[in-house]
Every structure is written in C-alpha cells, then in structure tokens.
C-alpha cells in the first residue's frame, strides 16, 4: 500500500471508499418491498463501488485488489458506525455491556455484540496484526477464504488455520 497518488493519504482513500461504499450499500439494501432478498452480496457491492470510484478518478487505485484492501477497513467502519448509532438510539446515549437478553428473538445480531467484536479485534491487532487483518477481511469485509488468500499472499490452507486461531483468540477476548 505504498503507491498512492501523491497527496492522497491512506486515510483519505479510506474515507473515499467509505463514502462510496455507504452510498452503494444504501441503494442495495434500501430497496423498498424487497426485503426477502436483503442478504448483502459484499463482493458485488465492493466491485460496484470500485468501478464507480475508479472511473471517476483514474489512477487513484492501483487495481481492484488495492481498492478491496482499503475497502475492508471502510466496511468495518461503516458497520461499527451504524451499530454505535443503533445502540445509542436504544439506550438514549451511553453504551452498555452486551447482555444478549431482553426478549432475544435471535440475539446473535445485537448491534452491541458487533461493537464488542470490533473492540476485541482492535485488541487482537496488538497480539497479532496478521490475525486481526484476517478478521477484518473475513468477518468485516466478507471476503471468501480464496479471496483472503489472494489478498494476503498465502495459501487457502494457511487462511483456514489462521481463521481458527483468530476466532479462538476472539472467543477468549469476548468471554465474560
């Protein structure tokens, strides 16, 4: 990630990716009356955002893989921002510990759980930046094992083994 356009920091690129992804995601997800198909195809979404940004300012992105690497961070920010907003709305401000309780319908998608996973992933980066990056790509950016392998330049087998280790560490970090 060294060959950015002069003058554009990685942060600025992430911000661009963030804005474009958010727009594309909104369009994909907010189609009225279509919520039977609301599962998000992230690969398609990221591809669409890339095409738009790449055609708007040629040369800013090395290639789609470069965009995708930046986009994975942006995806994480988008989700965490929304989870934070939702949690704040729910509690009128202050955050609260995850209890996964209160009429849980299928509480494994409580937004506060996402915030907890995000925080654990940040701590995981101190233990092993490699495993944290894997979580970002696999969990937050929804890349497949094969896509992650290409992105990180390792074999699929390595991705699988690291994925188990990363999740074992996250499970420990998230344990009450």
């Amino acid at each position: 990630m060294t060959e950015h356009q002069p003058g554009l920091s990685l942060e600025a690129l992430t911000e661009l990716a963030y804005r474009e992804l958010r727009t594309v995601a909104h369009r994909h997800l907010a189609r009225p009356g279509d919520d039977a198909n609301q599962t998000l195809n992230t690969t398609a979404l990221v591809h669409e955002a890339y095409l738009k940004l790449a055609s708007g300012s040629p040369g800013m992105w090395r290639d789609e893989a470069h965009f995708r690497a930046v986009a994975s961070v942006a995806m994480r920010h988008i989700l965490v921002d929304r989870a934070r907003a939702r949690a704040a709305e729910r509690h009128g401000g202050g955050l609260r510990r995850v209890t996964l309780d209160e009429y849980a319908v299928a509480a494994d998608d409580d937004p506060e759980l996402l915030l907890a996973i995000d925080a654990a992933c940040t701590r995981l980066a101190e233990t092993s930046p490699r495993l944290a990056r894997l979580v970002e790509l696999r969990f937050f950016a929804a890349l497949s094992e094969a896509e992650v392998a290409t992105e990180l330049g390792v074999t699929v087998r390595t991705v699988q083994r690291d994925w188990v280790k990363a999740r074992a560490l996250l499970a420990a970090a998230l344990a009450p």
Binding site: P32, H91, A104, P111, L170
Partner: protein, 368 residues
C-alpha cells in the same frame, strides 16, 4: 494467565510469538501425539502448557461447531441496515394504539420495542411490541391474525401471554407483557450448565406449559433457551404459537425465509421431522426441542454440533448423541434416559405427551 486476564483474555505480542508456533505444532498433530509433543515443547513451563492446551481445546471446539463468527458481519448484522423511513412509517401507522418508547432487542425475525398503550383508560400499560421484519400483504395479514388469535387464547402461569396483534404500515406485530428477568439462553451463556435441582424445576415448568398448550392444539415449533424467560423463580415460555403464525404468513413452499435469510426454527433445536421439511409436525416436535434443552442445561453443551448447517441437519437426522451422564456423572439414571427418549429420531419413539415427561421428572425429584 494473570497476564492474559488483564488484557481481556489475549496474550501480548511477545507471549504470542512463543505460544503460536507451539500451538501450530499441536494442531498439526494427532490428539494422541500431543501430550508427548507438549512435554517436549513446553518443558517444565506449566503456565505455557496450560495456555496452549486451552487454545488447542478452543480451536477444536471451533472446528466442531464452526458457526462461531462464520457469518460475515454484513450478513449477520443485516438488521443494522433495516431502518429509515420504513420505521418512521410504522411508528406513525401504530401511533393511535401504541407509543413506541425505545428498542429493547433486535433479531433476524423481529425488532422488539418497549411501547406504551394509548387511549381508553388513564395510564397505558408498558408492553413489549414485536414487529416482524417480513412485510405483509392483506391476505397474509389475515392468515397471521387467525393463527395468532389461537395462540393468544393461551393463559398459563408458565406461558408469556400474547396481548394484542395486528398489521400496521405493512408490518405484522404482536405485543406481550414486559417480563423483568433473563432468558434461559443468557443464563446458560453465563453459567454453562445448571445445578440438577434447577434443571428439574426449569424442565418441569416448560413441560407444564407444553402440556397445557398442546391440549389446546397449539405447538410452539421454535422452543429454545432464548425463548424461555426466567423471572421470579420460574420459567415462562415466550412466543408460543408465533412460529406457526409466521409460517402461515409467509408464502408456503418457499422454504420460509425471513428478510435476513434465517429459516423459521433454530437448527440446533429443530426436530428431525422439521429438518426433513415435513409440513405437518405435531406436538412431539416440541418434546424433541425440550430434549435438546434438557441436554444443554444438564451438560452445558448441545447434543449435536457441527461445522455447517448441513452437518447439523444430518446429525439431527442420523446421529445418536452421547448420553448426558457421560459428560456429568451425577445425572440420575432416570433423567438420563428421559433425555435420550426425548431425542429419539422417530416421533413415535419419544414419550407420547408432556404429561409423561412431568411424571418422570416428579419421580426423579422424589428419589433425591
């Protein structure tokens, strides 16, 4: 260990550079070869060995129950995107009957709000208002209401009553009282398994609720620890009859998908006949789910875990689980065999009714 605790369960990077290669080595070896390998790799460092062994166990659990964090955030937390004008529209549509105060839960099937009843008498009651994610056409709403009307006739001390239901702004909804307490699911996540005496009382409460509802022709179909609320020293079942209503409201033969792609029923607690997609499941599907819950509260683990939905399904259809007593020795024999009978693959091989389960539980209680 103290180091790991202080850092929220995560080793420092220096520590990890020591632990990771040993962990890799252990994972690459067969379980039988590991002790010798760890003797060699850890030497006399008991703390290191303990740390590696715990990680190996965690990795193995993940390989068996691979669902953990497997669904990407955008899919799993799809509810984060479900907001905006739609919700405002619902608020308006229901404004003459309820004032929505705040969201208290959100899941694949529904969003739950705390709301206050309006109109008529002086101060409105506070209720839990569940709004289904699925949108509804007129015909669907009628079917939903017919089914939910049946469920709302249930009145039992171990069933959370349905108060009201309807459709507003394209959304189906129903209300129930606000119960202060935690779910059995939350307690299990906190404590692992329960003391035998608590197991008997929780299972007894659930079985009594089932006996009552089944006698009135209502089957739960989605019984699981998250649907069992613990309050004031007793267990109450929530969402009785709701699954059938949702089923009736979603187009038949469609695999019954909700907006986020979850099918109705929770794979870990679904009976073999539900997994097989049989259209007409009867009350014995709830008895099977009760068996799974019994297994879990006794042992702290599910009878069937696997790395994919497909594998879970297969296990429910063909695999015989280890008896609970192999995981916890003090389980009374009568209870042990009751759980195994509840988990029978063929509905005909299970106890015929919840009353039989209650009788067995009472007999265990007396023997103690």
């Amino acid at each position: 260990m103290t180091d790991a605790r202080a850092r929220g369960g995560l080793p420092s990077s220096e520590r990890w550079s020591v632990v990771e290669p040993i962990l890799d080595g252990a994972l690459a070896r067969d379980a039988r070869e590991r002790p010798a390998y760890l003797d060699d790799a850890c030497g006399h460092d008991a703390l290191l060995r303990d740390e590696v062994e715990r990680l190996v166990a965690a990795c193995e659990r993940l390989e068996r129950d691979g669902e953990y964090l497997e669904r990407p955030a955008v899919v799993r937390f799809a509810n984060l995107w479900d907001e905006g004008p739609d919700q405002a529209r619902f608020r308006n549509a229901i404004a003459d009957r309820y004032m929505i105060e705040n969201e208290i839960g959100a899941g694949g099937m529904a969003i739950v709000y705390r709301a206050r009843e309006r109109g008529g008498s002086a101060v409105g009651r506070s209720v839990a208002l569940k709004v289904l994610r699925a949108t509804a056409s007129a015909g669907v709403a009628a079917r939903f209401r017919r089914e939910i009307a049946l469920a709302s006739q249930l009145s039992h001390e171990h069933i959370v009553p349905l108060l009201d239901s309807g459709d507003s702004g394209d959304r189906l909804w129903y209300t129930m009282p606000v119960v202060e307490g935690e779910s059995l699911g939350a307690r299990l996540r906190r404590e692992g398994r329960l003391p035998i005496s608590d197991v008997l009382s929780v299972l007894g409460d659930i079985a009594r609720a089932l006996e009552y509802a089944h006698a009135r022709g209502v089957v739960h179909r989605d019984l699981k620890p998250d649907n069992v609320l613990l309050a004031e020293g007793r267990a109450m079942i929530a969402d009785f009859g709701v699954a059938k209503a949702i089923l009736a409201a979603t187009s038949p033969g469609d695999g019954v998908r909700t907006s986020t792609g979850a099918s109705i029923g929770t794979p870990a607690y679904m009976s073999p006949e539900q997994h097989a997609g049989e259209k007409s499941v009867d009350h014995r599907t709830d008895l099977y789910a009760l068996g799974v819950i019994a297994y879990e509260v006794l042992t702290g683990v599910l009878p069937f875990t696997a790395s994919s939905r497909q594998a879970v399904l297969t296990a429910h259809l063909v695999e015989i689980p280890a008896r609970p007593s192999t995981k916890r020795r003090e389980i009374p024999a009568v209870l042990d065999s009751l759980v195994m009978r509840l988990l029978a693959k063929r509905a005909d091989d299970r106890p015929p009714a919840a009353a039989d389960v209650i009788a067995t539980l009472v007999s265990v209680d007396r023997r103690d």
